[in-house]
Symmetry: C2
Subunit: 211 residues, 2 copies
Amino acid sequence: MNTETKIPNPTIERLAFYSRPLEVLLKGRIPVVSSEKLAGLCSVNPAQVRKDLAYFGEFGVRGVGYDVRELLMEIKKILGTDHAWNLCIVGMGNLGKALVENENFKSRGYRFLAAFDNSPQRAGERLPCGLIIQSARKIAELVKALSIEIGVIATAPRNAQRTADMLTRAGVKAILNFAPTQLRTQDRCAVENVDFTVKLENLAYHLAKEE
Amino acid sequence: MNTETKIPNPTIERLAFYSRPLEVLLKGRIPVVSSEKLAGLCSVNPAQVRKDLAYFGEFGVRGVGYDVRELLMEIKKILGTDHAWNLCIVGMGNLGKALVENENFKSRGYRFLAAFDNSPQRAGERLPCGLIIQSARKIAELVKALSIEIGVIATAPRNAQRTADMLTRAGVKAILNFAPTQLRTQDRCAVENVDFTVKLENLAYHLAKEE
DNA sequence: GCCTGTGAATCCATTCACAGCT
DNA sequence: AGCTGTGAATGGATTCACAGGC
């Protein structure tokens, strides 16, 4: 099944998910994995794994399973993580600083090429990673000059929308938003929200339920 | 519709979502809101808003709408955010440090009562918020002593599972996991994952798709 | 015998459309 | 007249179950 079917969003989310245990298996020199094994490692249904992969091609061998290295490569190709992406980040408070240095970004080929903040006392500061914090006024200029594709928003909630506007106008194609606000963008720009207070409230709900 | 129907998970996620614009409306002294207005602010369907709320009671007035203050209170009661929760955090790298100080946690009544790290050179350090980093060996003792209900994991991926085990054994009822690993816990303990690399890969996929 | 790939069946969530209250 | 609350209809995604290839 390789025709131009619409791919469900949960599928591509899980693809990213599958890649993590696959990396572990690869390091452990395990050559082959079955859908059942992989599903177990991700706590999903084996049929789900097979169906997800089948959207993109026939990567397995019947009676055997999937070649770990090959499958991982295919997933990376699908997700576009087979090459690096250029990021910038806006809002260099504690969270922003933690994100630029974050190992999980680096190890997966996401590189921060610029860091912005609109408070004058932060501009000019040199970060441990070597970047120097730029005034937010420079967003338009630097996004273009450095061909930045993805913008990360780590500002206070009240500045998030304004920041998103600046980023999209500068030509960024996607935004990862850490502010707990619903952003409005023209649909040329994809947005993903990372909102940990929502997750916490989820937990609180389940706890409150059992008194 | 108030009987013991199973509540869909997306519903309770959206409830947290609705509360944000409601807080803004409350501050702006807007007394009443319609499902259509609220839906617009959250980019969802108005019928969705009504159905979500109807799971928990009849909070609206036909022909009028919802009383903002009352609705917000009801949602908080449902989510269990009408009272504070006790948290601890494990893993005091950049991300951990950023999270303990984070405004969004504080403003919603989540308070960090303890911070742990298993590297000896970090233990003893005093954080800006006043907490002193404790050795991870003290988890069992302090979780009990401080009646900590929710544990936050901000360790390196390879330590996440071990940390989760310690936390659950210590009696924590829920875990918010920032490490990009699938945790295995006994089902007495709820887990929510905040995985921003998955979100980024999502964005990468959509960008890669349009060359 | 084993494990993939996939139509069919099931399950779950969203949206529609309207009856019912103010 | 206006907006909620909700059964019914739709639309998606997950799971089942088995045919097909190693």
